[in-house]
């Protein structure tokens, strides 16, 4: 058997990231001439499986209750052993990142994270990822099967719909409760229900913003006006101006918006590593030599304090004129 399997952990919806994951899985399955299967671990709504089945040949729904690290891992290992896939693909959410190396270990496979490309080279799987904080790109050939990968899933094109939806199977597993670790509290801190990784437009502030107030008084209203999510560089998060969940970069979120507006962000490679798959980058920065401009489609060299209030007025005027 050489199926390709995608795994969705506690999905709240079949969002763009999950669709991209299915797309990556479908292209790999076609290249290998194999089936594409999905393991959906504890979906938050029964409708999700039906949506997944529109693009996946076989959907296996396992309801294990709320995600717990040890029992989710045991459940995934159990189902994967039955399927013996050639590749198991995940998205880039927290749970997927934590589970992949351990799942690879249990299946005698090999794991790679933050994958942006998967190819087949003389029957071996090769993946690409950024290394050295985005300064270099590595191609890695996996030497064990299965390949267990977590991917920057939103950067992949979605999978085409099947003419007939795939089969949905519900599987109940006999996994004993593992009480060695237990999540006892879950707290959302984000600005909206949408994950930053899912955002189509992002307004992001850096060290040059200078404090928490401008984030609230200047950037937040701009983001709302643009229908954007607010994000920040590591420097701004470390300074405590915004919560760590806002952080974009090598050590924060890897985002893939259609527009990333970087305000007072120099664009160190560690930051760029988080936005390399963004479709368009624009910047507002006082320094014309700031590295961020090397990655921009368009930009303005000016103090953001002068630009942002005016930009809000202009955007409102444009929005009104288009109505």
């Amino acid at each position: 058997m050489n199926d390709v399997v995608i795994c969705l952990l506690s999905p709240a919806s079949f969002d763009r990231a999950a669709q991209g994951l299915a797309g990556a899985g479908r292209r790999l399955a076609e290249e290998l001439g194999s089936q594409l299967k999905a393991i959906v671990l504890s979906p938050q709504s029964p409708a999700i499986a039906a949506e997944v089945a529109q693009v996946i040949d076989k959907v296996i729904v396992v309801d294990q209750g709320e995600y717990q690290p040890e029992s989710a891992l045991s459940a995934l290992a159990d189902v994967c052993r039955q399927l013996s896939p050639v590749a198991v693909l995940f998205g880039n959410d927290t749970y997927s990142q934590e589970v992949t190396p351990r799942l690879a270990y249990r299946l005698d496979g090999a794991a790679v994270g933050d994958v942006v490309e998967v190819t087949v080279h003389q029957q071996a799987l090769r993946v690409s990822r950024q290394v050295y904080g985005g300064k270099a790109q590595a191609t890695i050939e996996l030497k064990r099967t299965p390949a267990v990968l977590w991917t920057r899933s939103r950067s992949f094109a979605p999978a085409p719909r099947l003419s007939e939806p795939g089969e949905i199977t519900e599987l109940s597993l006999d996994i004993p409760a593992d009480i060695r670790t237990r999540i006892v509290e879950r707290k959302r801190e984000s600005q909206s229900e949408q994950r930053l990784e899912e955002a189509r437009v992002i307004v992001s502030g850096g060290r040059g913003i200078g404090g928490p107030e401008p984030f609230n008084d200047e950037l937040k209203p701009l983001a709302e006006l643009m229908g954007a999510q607010l994000a920040a560089s590591r420097a701004a998060c470390d300074a405590g101006w915004v919560p760590p969940t806002f952080q974009v970069g090598q050590t924060g979120k890897k985002v893939t918006p259609d527009l990333y507006l970087a305000i007072a962000i120099t664009g160190a490679s560690q930051h760029m590593a988080g936005i390399s798959e963004a479709k368009n980058i624009a910047a507002i920065n006082t320094d014309p030599d700031a590295p961020i401009f090397k990655h921009c489609r368009f930009g303005i060299v000016e103090d953001y304090r002068k630009v942002v209030p005016l930009l809000r007025q202009k955007l409102i005027a444009l929005q009104n004129s288009q109505r």
């Binding site: 994270g113 996996l142 801190e189």
Partner: protein, 264 residues
Amino acid sequence: MNILVCLKQILDPEIPAREFRVDPARREAERGNANLVTNVFCENALETALQFRETLGDAKITVLSFGAATAEDSLRKALAMKADAAALVINDKTPNPDPLTVAQVLAAAIHKLGSFDLVIVGREAGDWGAGQTAGLLAEELKIPCVSFVDRIEAMNGGLRFKRQTDSGWEVLEAQTPVVVSITNDEHNVPRIPKVRDVMMSYRQPLTQWTLSDLGYEIEDDKYYQVVDLSIPQKESRCEFVTGDTLDERVESLARRITEVTSAL
């Protein structure tokens, strides 16, 4: 409580991109003039351990590294930050061992060092950034793992962790022994050691082992193999918005933003 913190020495990730070179044949970064530093998440990990020890009063922190002989500097710095003991497994075999090899070597060293209630590692390294050490080490040690932790507290009969997630944070309770990976937040910025402690650290004992002391033999390319390493070429095509006044330039910026976002 016995705490073990793993540290990795890496090429300074702060070196500017224009000075960064790779050797495509060896598939390694070139050292150039760059310093070797302790990976920052490993320092966040040590800082979290030090703060946790302060709340406990009675705990021993051992630092462990698997790397080149120069990694001794990272361990000396950790001693200066007030870790209690240090051990280095010298890797004279391969400059970039795969994640499984790293986990197996660390596990072998941990067994030789004794038993630990808590094993702490950084969430990923600033060089290869595989982010697999915590998970694979937990599997090698056959104990559970908690990722992306930024705070550790003691509770009755176990530990309580706060960890960062996509959308916020979670609290986990765990029995020991357990492996955790540490991420950064405003509370675990690594402390700067005192000059006197830096000097003292060079007089402290430091255990050094070779791979054969651990009875471990590295097998190349058993997990994965890096087949290409290159620097992506980015063409700079930034269009700076034009206009005679700030008002006109911002107007043009607003138009460009609207074009891009309404085309979605």
